[in-house]
Structure formats: structure tokens, C-alpha cells
């Protein structure tokens, strides 16, 4: 695992993309396939189910380090990363084992699942004592699964493409869907044989950037297609060899959650891949995302749920027609293919073509402003000549979302962040006025610059009222403008409302807490939304 921990350290030490790719290339050139495939697995963010509960890891680490549990927790609060905290509190090891990565994962860690606690503890503490700090850290990451090291799937794909000479898009496609991390898979990922055998495999999703320019700068409206931007689950519906597969954007197979879509998709011709949005739908209107979540959360989808949360697919693209990959065709052509194929099916209202919004840029702008009342997030703007690309790219696809709702709120609680923000107070809870009391209504983590974060951090440390574990309550003094996408009633929250995607828009240093908004104002947005 030395080679892999060296890779991890190299990736972690730099912010430069080229240096990262080079480190990956070096690794893949040296690592045996049975290790390399696990490296890919972890680096692109997949994780095996956790074999040992986090709580136990903390306990054993504290025990081995000879420190009380509370001191471990206090350390974790400062370090902001569990794997790292464990690594640092343990006594330095003077032995170093160098077992291969796949041996650690397959023979030592994974078999621990479901074992007696004593067996688990012995195995894990043995591992800790056999590894030097960099390897110990990586080993902890393998156990806890939180493997973020600033490497995107795209960088891994690029490196593999460089190592093998295979086109990056082909590699990206092969990394999709479900595969077993073994040597055979690794050979398949890098194989020059382009016939793929996995019938369930989805295509990499093409993702849009938020529009950051004036819409008229995009050029003539005739070159563009505008669609509603739905607030549902982005999905690929694939029919091959008489079987239907539904993949979410997180590359999770969610076929079982949507039996009515499966049934309708059975009628698609073999060798079809649709891209679209799954929505909870009733009376010609999308239902709130929270309703749809009930379908994802359940293990078994019963008839009651099917009735209460009816779903549809709003398809807006087609990636495979009669078994042929058509992603290189223009959107205009693909949309024609999509229309033709869906029109040939019996019209049951389950598989729909996502409607196109027509009009001038000005008219589209007005339509976008009405987005909330239609239950959509805004518009998608897609260049008619665009191919279906891999991953998030600028230029051809834009999301043109409706402006967020905003409110001025008071900072009430703060908690230290993780990763690059460890040891700094970066996670905040905000409140609005309810008569003369401040009622918390949202947590937000993003939106401030590094310099602002440092100032708020200093404020928190010097204006702490009380400590509750890692959380500090602070003097109500600072006002921030909070933006969010959606608001709804909630019986689970003290404020009686819940907001979606709250983030900090700006620090209102010009405002006093008396100027912050009230719960009443916040609730008045319920109707607006």
C-alpha cells in the first residue's frame, strides 16, 4: 500500500491539475492491475459499505493512544478529519508492513464486516500498529470511505487514457455503472477491444454550467433550444436485450424504485438510452422534490406509495438508438430521434418528451421569472448543434435558474468545518426574528471568501456565549444575506419552515441585527414559492 499512499500524498500536496495527472500516470504505470483497480474505485468516489462503525474506530483509537474519549473528540474537532485524527493520536509505529492495496482491502478489511467486535478491534488495531503514518492514514480512509483528495473522475479518466492510449470518453464510459474491482475489470477498462459486454452500462452524463453572462450574448435564439429545468432526479433509462435499467446521476441503479417507468420502458426498442428527469407528477404539475424523495428513501415500493407519489419521466435526450451510440449527433437530430421513438409508443403519460419553451430571449426571460409558479427551477438553454458531451462543460449547455429567494438573517451558532476548513469556524446556523426572539431556520456553509471566513472565525472565538460540544453560540451581532431555492412548511423544524440549498449570498456589514428579517417575512415567501 506504500505506492498508493505515496500517490495519495502526491495528490494531496498539490493543487495543480497537471501534477495530479502525472502522479496518477506514474501510479498506474507501476501498480499491479489488482491494486490499480481498487485505486480507481476509491479515487472516483466509490466506497464499500463501512465495515466498522465510526464510533468504534474512535473508541479503539482513543484506547490505543491512552487518551480519554473526550480528548479524542476535541482533537477531531480541530483536525476536522476522522482518518487523520486517528492517525495522529496513535503512537508512531516503528514497523512498516508493505502489503499490496488489494490485500488490505480484500483480505483484511472487507472480511471484517459482521465479525465479532473483538475480532474487528484486534484486526484494526493490528493494522494501525503495522503502518507508518501515511499508510495508516490511507488505511483509515479506506475504512471510513471519505476519500476526497481533490481528484475528479475526469482526472482519473485522463490519466488512464494517457497510460493506455484509449480515448478518454471510452474510458469514462467504461467506468460507469457497476463493476467489480478486480484485475479483469482493470484490463477491460484499458482494453483496446471496444465491444463492451455490460448491457446495463449507462453513459457519462453531460452536465451544464450556470449561465454567467447576459443571455443575449449567447447569439441568435434560432441556434438554441430552451427547456424547463425540472427539480427531480436526473436519470438514464436504458433498454437493452429486453431488460430495463434506470441509473441516477450519482451512478446508482435505481430501477426498483420506479416500476411504472420500467413497465413503460419495456416497450422501447432494444438498444435505447434516454436521458431525462424523473418527477413526482399530479394534475399536469410536478410535485415538490420532497414528495419524490419518499420514493427514493423506501426499500420496498408498495401500492400505496405508487398511488401517493405517481412518477413520470420527462425525457430530453437520447444517447443510444437501436444499439448505436448517437452522442456525436447534434441535439437537433437527437431530439428528432427521441420524438420519433417516443411517439411510436402507446401514450400512457409515463414516458414524456420534456416540452420545449419557445419565444424570443425576452419572452424566455419572462417565462424564467415565472418558473416558481410552474414548479420548475428555471430554464435549460442548449445549443441545437451540440453533441452530447462527457461531464460538466462550458459553452453548449447552460442552466438559467430563477433568482434565488433571499432573506437577511443573524449568525447564531458556529461549528468548525472539515478538510481545507478544518479548525476554522465555517459552518453556521442563521436565525430570523420572531417577535423579540431569534429563531434558527437554516444552516449554511458556503458563500464567503477565505478572508471573510477568517474574520468570522475570529469573531466566533472572541464572542462565544456557550459551547455545546463542537458548536458555539455567539453574540448575535453579524447579519448575512441568505439565499435559497425553495421554502416549505416543516413540522420538524422549530421555525416551522425548511429551506432548500441555503447558502450565504453576502455579509451585510452595513446592517445591524435589528435590520434582519422576521419569521413572518420568511413565511410570506411560502406563497411566492
Amino acid at each position: 500500500m506504500k505506492l498508493f499512499s505515496k500517490l495519495y500524498t502526491a495528490l494531496d500536496e498539490t493543487t495543480r491539475t497537471n501534477v495530479k495527472v502525472q502522479a496518477l500516470v506514474d501510479y498506474f504505470q507501476q501498480a499491479p492491475p489488482e491494486d490499480a483497480v481498487w485505486a480507481i474505485h476509491f479515487l472516483i468516489g466509490r466506497k464499500p459499505r463501512q465495515v466498522v462503525p465510526t464510533r468504534k474506530l474512535k473508541e479503539w483509537a482513543a484506547q490505543l493512544a491512552g487518551i480519554p474519549d473526550w480528548l479524542f473528540d476535541a482533537s477531531y474537532e480541530v483536525v476536522g478529519d476522522l482518518a487523520e485524527t486517528i492517525t495522529l493520536v496513535l503512537p508512531l509505529s516503528n514497523r512498516t508492513q508493505n502489503r499490496p492495496l488489494h490485500v488490505w482491502v480484500e483480505d483484511i478489511l472487507l472480511p471484517l464486516r459482521g465479525k465479532d467486535e473483538a475480532v474487528q478491534q484486534r484486526a484494526i488495531t493490528d493494522a494501525w500498529q503495522q503502518l507508518d503514518n501515511p499508510q495508516r492514514f490511507v488505511c483509515n480512509k479506506l475504512i471510513t470511505g471519505a476519500f476526497r483528495v481533490g481528484v475528479s473522475q475526469r482526472l482519473v479518466t485522463r490519466a488512464l487514457s494517457q497510460v493506455s492510449g484509449i480515448d478518454a470518453a471510452v474510458i469514462a464510459h467504461r467506468l460507469m455503472g457497476e463493476w467489480t474491482p478486480d484485475a479483469e475489470t482493470y484490463h477491460q477498462i484499458l482494453s483496446t477491444d471496444t465491444r463492451d459486454t455490460d448491457i446495463s452500462r449507462p453513459y457519462p452524463f453531460y452536465l451544464a454550467y450556470p449561465l454567467d453572462q447576459d443571455v443575449t450574448d449567447l447569439g441568435a435564439i434560432e441556434d438554441w433550444q430552451a427547456e424547463w429545468k425540472w427539480d427531480g432526479i436526473r436519470a438514464q433509462v436504458i433498454k437493452r436485450e429486453d431488460r430495463v435499467f434506470i441509473w441516477s446521476r450519482g451512478e446508482e441503479l435505481v430501477t426498483d424504485k420506479f416500476p411504472e417507468i420500467v413497465q413503460a420502458a419495456q416497450r422501447l426498442p432494444d438498444g435505447t438510452a434516454l436521458d431525462g428527469e424523473i418527477l413526482a407528477w399530479q394534475n399536469e404539475q410536478p410535485l415538490n422534490f420532497s414528495v419524490l424523495q419518499r420514493r427514493i428513501g423506501r426499500k420496498n415500493i408498495g401500492t400505496k406509495l405508487l398511488k401517493e407519489v405517481p412518477v413520470v419521466l420527462m425525457a430530453y435526450d437520447i444517447l443510444e438508438v437501436h444499439g448505436n451510440d448517437v452522442r456525436d449527433r447534434s441535439l437537433a437530430q437527437r431530439f428528432k430521434d427521441l420524438t420519433r421513438i417516443l411517439a411510436a409508443l402507446p401514450q400512457e403519460g409515463i414516458l414524456n418528451i420534456s416540452p420545449v419553451a419557445a419565444g424570443s430571449w425576452l419572452q424566455l426571460g419572462e417565462a424564467r421569472a415565472q418558473a416558481r409558479s410552474r414548479g420548475v427551477e428555471g430554464l435549460m438553454l442548449k445549443r441545437l448543434s451540440s453533441p452530447y458531451r462527457v461531464g460538466r462543460r462550458r459553452g453548449d449547455w447552460w442552466k438559467w435558474k430563477v433568482d434565488p429567494l433571499t432573506i437577511d438573517a443573524v449568525l447564531l451558532y458556529a461549528q468548525p468545518g472539515h478538510g481545507r476548513r478544518s479548525g476554522l469556524y465555517t459552518d453556521y446556523t442563521f436565525a430570523v426574528w420572531d417577535a423579540d426572539k431569534l429563531v434558527p431556520f437554516a444552516k449554511a456553509y458556503s458563500g464567503l471568501t477565505d478572508a471573510e471566513i477568517r474574520r468570522v472565525d475570529r469573531f466566533v472565538r472572541t464572542h462565544t456565549l456557550e459551547r455545546f460540544g463542537p458548536v458555539r453560540s455567539v453574540d448575535p451581532e453579524l447579519v448575512f444575506e441568505i439565499a435559497f431555492e425553495d421554502i416549505r412548511r416543516s413540522s420538524r423544524h422549530k421555525s416551522g419552515i425548511a429551506v432548500r440549498f441555503p447558502r450565504i449570498l453576502r455579509w451585510r456589514t452595513d446592517k445591524k441585527i435589528q435590520d434582519a428579517d422576521s419569521l413572518q417575512t420568511l413565511k410570506s415567501l411560502l406563497t411566492a414559492a
Binding site: 480519554p68 480528548l71 482533537s75 480541530v78 483536525v79 487523520e84 508512531l92 481545507r420 479548525g423
Partner: protein, 336 residues
């Protein structure tokens, strides 16, 4: 702490009423006993200063040539209002001292900042015994664990060599007083020339005048041909890490030296190529061992993770308490 106590923390700083003197006051007072020359401990405008003789050059550099300063040898005693005061090496930076105060058979020790790893650029920490120990707690959590400095110097020299092989300038960020000199003393001058930022060079002169041996260094501003920097080492304070300053070095590789570099998130936040874990303070083990070895019944814990250290000591049946001071300890604020 009440007004009747021997030591108390007032608006101006830690005050010994019977002796009528302050230790590292943060306001101008009549008589200040100074533990060391860092800015949060040695402040200007006091009427009289008392400090370790080794720190005299540094204090005059920082506070002004003409300050009224009484230098004392380590171990020498002086009576202030009938209270016996002596200074003992703290191992933090050149001239750093623990203040030992004895009165009516009771002994107090105010540590200032300290480290117990030996270091060729200052006198070695002296373990004192006392009834009441006032300790810092900058790195008072068990995640802070220093490797021997020889290992760290080997890493730094290795990094320098690797940069040199690519004709890069190695820019090492280290606090200008103490850390920079300690690092320079650990550099292998056979690798190449060592250049310094002006703030570092000034302090180097004080160290050399105090008899500390450092390899030859040259002020960056005195170099006209920029090509001289390729493959060289430049030691500069963190505040010099600006485009305006680093522009002159072709293809610089940057590293930061601090105990805080132990934490990955803080290392990443610094946006440097390397973080070397090297501190002028004790690690967790050094801190707790020193406190135990002082045999003090009462421990006052100042700047750092004081709440955690206090709780830990109380669980070991010591009479410990947190004491609020204006000494700094965070990564973004101090010389650590």
C-alpha cells in the same frame, strides 16, 4: 483570580502585586519582566524592562535601542520589593526565559513559551520545580507530536536538493525571529547559497552577535542578478509570501515551517508545496511531561488549547485552571 493572590491577571497583564512587576504585559507598565522577544510577549513603551541577557540584542531590535533594559544571566537572582526573581532557559528562541518567582517559601514559575527539544540556536530548556506553574498550551492536543528535528532538517534539505535539481528556488517560509534561525542552522550549506528576507537577516545579525553560529546568509535585496536564485534557498517570513516578493525568484517552490503543518487541512489552506512540521513550542507529550515534572500543585493554563489541557490535568487530580491572556496561539496569528 482574586486581588489577594500573589499573581493576578489585570487589564495590563500578569501582575505580581507583592513584587510590583508585570510579566509580558500587553499594556505599557512601570516594570516589565519579559520572557522573550516575540511581539505578543514583548511590547513597547514600558518604563523599565528586565530580561535574559541573551535576548538583549533582540529586544533592542524590536523595542528600540534606547529602552531601559536590565539584562540578567540565566539563574541569576534579583530581589524586586523583597520578591526573589530569576530567569531560566525556556528553549523557545534565543534568550527566551521562564520566570521563577520565590516568596515566603512558595515558588511560582511563569513559562512564557517553551519547548523541551534541544536546539543549537538557544539555551536548552531547564526543568524547574514549583508550587504554581503558569504554562502555555499552544499545541495542547494529542494530535501534535513532533518528530526529532534532525529528521525534519533532513526532509528540508532533501526538498531543497530536489528543487535545485530542477533549477527551482526553494522559498522557505519561517517566522523571522527564532524559527528562521533554527531552520538556517539546520540547512546543509554545501547544497547551495542561502538568501534571506530583510526581516530575517536583521535577526540573524543579533543571533551571530550573541555567539550563535549560523551558516553564511545574504540579504535578497543585495542580489542584483536574479539568476543567482536558481537552485538557492531563500528564508523569508510568511508575510513575504506575496506575488510582489516572490516574483523575483524564477520558478519558486514554497514551503512553510510550523507546528500547525501537522494538520492536513491547515497545510492545504496555506497553499504551499510542502509543510514541514517544526515548532518552537512543545508537542502534547512535551507539554504534559513538563507540567507533571514541575510537581506543581496548581497549574494555570494560558493561550492555546487551555480548556482541554485543564480538563486533562484535573482528571489527573491537579488543581488546574484556565487563565485568559492576550498571548496568541492560532495558526493565522502567531509565531508557532
Amino acid at each position: 483570580m482574586s486581588k489577594n493572590e500573589f499573581l493576578q491577571v489585570t487589564a495590563a497583564g500578569i501582575y505580581c502585586r507583592p513584587g510590583d512587576f508585570y510579566i509580558d504585559p500587553w499594556q505599557a507598565v512601570d516594570r516589565a519582566v519579559i520572557t522573550h522577544a516575540h511581539a505578543d510577549h514583548a511590547r513597547p513603551d514600558c518604563r523599565r524592562y528586565l530580561a535574559a541577557a541573551d535576548s538583549e540584542g533582540l529586544l533592542r531590535l524590536r523595542l528600540g535601542e534606547d529602552v531601559r533594559l536590565q539584562p540578567m544571566a540565566y539563574g541569576e537572582t534579583v530581589a524586586l520589593n523583597g520578591v526573589t526573581v530569576s530567569l531560566h532557559p525556556a528553549g523557545h528562541v534565543l534568550g527566551s526565559a521562564q520566570v521563577r518567582i520565590e516568596h515566603k517559601g512558595q515558588v511560582w514559575v511563569v513559562s512564557g513559551d517553551y519547548k523541551n527539544e534541544t536546539d543549537s540556536t538557544c539555551a536548552a530548556f531547564e526543568q524547574l520545580k514549583c508550587h504554581t506553574f503558569v504554562t502555555e498550551s499552544t499545541f495542547g492536543l494529542p494530535v501534535f507530536k513532533w518528530r526529532p528535528q534532525a529528521d525534519i532538517f533532513a526532509d528540508i534539505n532533501g526538498w531543497w536538493r530536489a528543487n535545485q535539481a530542477q533549477a527551482k528556488t526553494s522559498v522557505l517560509l519561517a517566522y523571522s525571529l527564532g524559527k528562521a534561525q533554527r531552520v538556517i542552522a539546520g540547512l546543509d550549506a554545501d547544497i547551495g547559497p542561502i538568501f534571506t528576507h530583510g526581516a530575517v537577516e536583521n535577526v540573524n545579525q543579533c543571533y551571530r552577535q550573541a555567539g550563535i553560529s549560523l551558516p553564511a546568509t545574504r540579504h535578497v535585496a543585495a542580489v542584483e542578478d536574479k539568476n543567482n536564485f536558481a537552485g538557492a534557498m531563500v528564508v523569508a517570513p510568511p508575510s513575504a509570501d506575496t506575488p510582489a516578493y516572490t516574483r523575483r525568484f524564477a520558478n519558486p517552490g514554497k514551503a512553510f515551517t510550523s507546528g500547525w503543518m501537522q494538520i492536513r487541512g491547515m497545510r492545504r489552506r496555506r497553499v504551499v508545496d510542502r509543510g514541514f512540521v517544526l515548532s518552537d513550542h512543545c508537542d502534547w507529550r512535551g507539554l504534559t511531561d513538563t507540567i507533571m515534572a514541575s510537581e506543581a500543585e496548581n497549574v494555570w493554563v494560558t493561550h492555546g488549547y487551555s480548556a482541554e489541557v485543564v480538563r486533562y490535568l484535573r482528571e489527573r487530580s491537579l488543581n488546574a485552571r484556565q487563565v485568559e491572556t492576550q498571548f496568541s496561539s492560532g495558526i493565522d496569528r502567531t509565531e508557532a
